[in-house]
């Protein structure tokens, strides 16, 4: 093999290519790679954070649900208590009312009965007088027998 000027030519070409690569090829590509690395790292961080947020939100939801559930139970209990109370009160009231009505009705009945008896008594006295008049054929002197008539009415 002959060593000749090709050697120098190759050396120069090599130098030029290396300088070109150093100036115009390597920096943009390696810069882009570094930047992408950063971007990916940021993306992964964000994803991690989102996952953590989701986790905490989930636990928060769990807590709130639990709270709501206990609240609901409490409310239900209260409502139940209240309703039974209301029912009881209503029952009491109704019972009292009924008793009152019964009492007044009984009083009314008693009064009516007494009245009826009274008027019957009067009618009986009248009838007795009319009967006696028919039997005796004479007019019974109302005034003279008033006392008798009253006694009769009282006996009825």
């Amino acid at each position: 093999m002959n060593l000749n000027l090709t050697l120098i030519g190759q050396l120069i070409a090599f130098t030029i290519f290396v300088i070109f690569c150093m100036k115009y090829v390597w920096p943009p590509i390696s810069g882009a790679l570094v930047e992408r690395q950063k971007k990916i790292a940021e993306g992964l961080d964000a994803a991690d954070k989102a996952a953590r947020d989701l986790e905490s939100a989930k636990s928060q939801i769990e807590d709130e649900l639990k709270q709501a559930r206990t609240q609901v139970t409490e409310l239900l209990e209260q409502a139940n208590k209240r309703s039974s109370q209301i029912v009881e009160e209503a029952q009491d009231k109704a019972r009292a009312e009924a008793e009152k009505i019964m009492a007044s009705a009984q009083a009314q009945i008693a009064q009516d009965a007494a009245q009826a008896r009274e008027s019957l008594r009067a009618d009986v006295a009248k009838l007795a007088v009319v009967g006696a008049e028919r039997v005796l054929g004479a007019t019974v002197d109302q005034a003279a027998h008033k006392k008798l008539l009253a006694e009769l009415a009282a006996e009825l």
């Binding site: 002959n2 000749n4 090709t6 050396l11 290519f17 290396v18 690569c21 090829v25 590509i29």
Partner: protein, 273 residues
């Protein structure tokens, strides 16, 4: 001009001769007709084919990677950028594993070496007769398309690396430090000439071995392709296909070795012993 029914040795000789333009003692500046004239030209000659193919491939490399560099962005990479980034990351990883200093030169240098040598080696897989025959039809007598089978090409690159080794040795350690490294070890100051001999040989061996390793591998590979091409046509594929497949490994490996050794040598130049 073109050889009519060449003997095997003429055929081989023809395929191993570069297209040489130089100063001939008798003919002046002219193209060499044959290996004899080319060697008579001595140093004042240039291998046009080696230069043209290597520069062409170098420009191909620069263009391809420049396209990638222009398209470089931090988003999702596509097309050429994917390939370019793959190469850049591979080279960057190799450099970072071996070289621990900070240098804006070594990584692009390694990338250029790796890709350029790979492309030049790749020409070895082009059938040996194809391009040289086309050029012969066009009137060009010799055409060797694999620049790395020319020792000038590999030595040119390794001398570039050698100059960088010396530059960084002096830059990092100073002239005194570098001289001390060459003369004061391994045997201390009473053995300076002997030390200088040992270390000098070690230093000179770096570019020589770098150049000859690449040249030797590719030259031998090319020679075997040429020998296979001498066989009858019905036997050629039987040998050239396996050899070509094996050679795919060799061309990548040699490009990688040249790059790795360059990184290693330069990182040694950066270290104090």
């Amino acid at each position: 001009m073109a050889l009519q029914n060449p003997t095997p040795s003429e055929y081989i000789q023809h395929h191993l001769t570069n297209l040489t333009y130089g100063y001939h003692p008798e003919n002046g500046w002219s193209f060499a007709h044959g290996a004899q004239e080319a060697s008579e030209m001595g140093f004042m000659a240039i291998h046009i084919d080696t230069m043209a193919w290597s520069i062409g491939l170098g420009i191909l490399f620069c263009w391809l990677f420049r396209v990638g560099a222009k398209a470089a962005h931090a988003g999702v990479p596509t097309g050429v950028l994917n390939f370019v980034e793959l190469m850049v990351e591979f080279v960057d990883k190799s450099v970072k594993e071996t070289f621990h200093g900070k240098s804006s030169l070594i990584a692009p240098l390694a990338l250029t070496i790796c890709c350029w040598i790979f492309l030049m080696n790749l020409m070895d897989l082009v059938p040996v007769d194809l391009v040289s025959y086309l050029f012969m039809v066009a009137g060009v007598e010799y055409m060797k398309i694999v620049p790395t089978t020319d020792v000038n090409a590999t030595l040119g690159m390794s001398i570039g690396v050698f100059l960088l080794i010396i530059f960084y040795s002096i830059k990092i350690k100073g002239v005194g430090g570098f001289a001390g490294e060459l003369t004061l070890q391994p045997f201390g100051k009473w053995m300076i000439p002997f030390n200088l001999l040992l270390e000098g040989v070690g230093l000179i061996a770096k570019p020589i071995s770098l150049a000859l390793r690449l040249f030797g591998n590719l030259y031998a590979g090319e020679l075997i392709f040429i020998l296979i091409a001498l066989l009858p046509f019905y036997l050629q594929w039987f040998l050239s296909v396996p050899w070509a497949i094996f050679h795919i490994l060799v061309i990548v490996l040699q490009a990688f070795i040249f790059m790795m050794l360059t990184i290693v040598y330069l990182s040694m130049a950066h270290e104090h012993h």
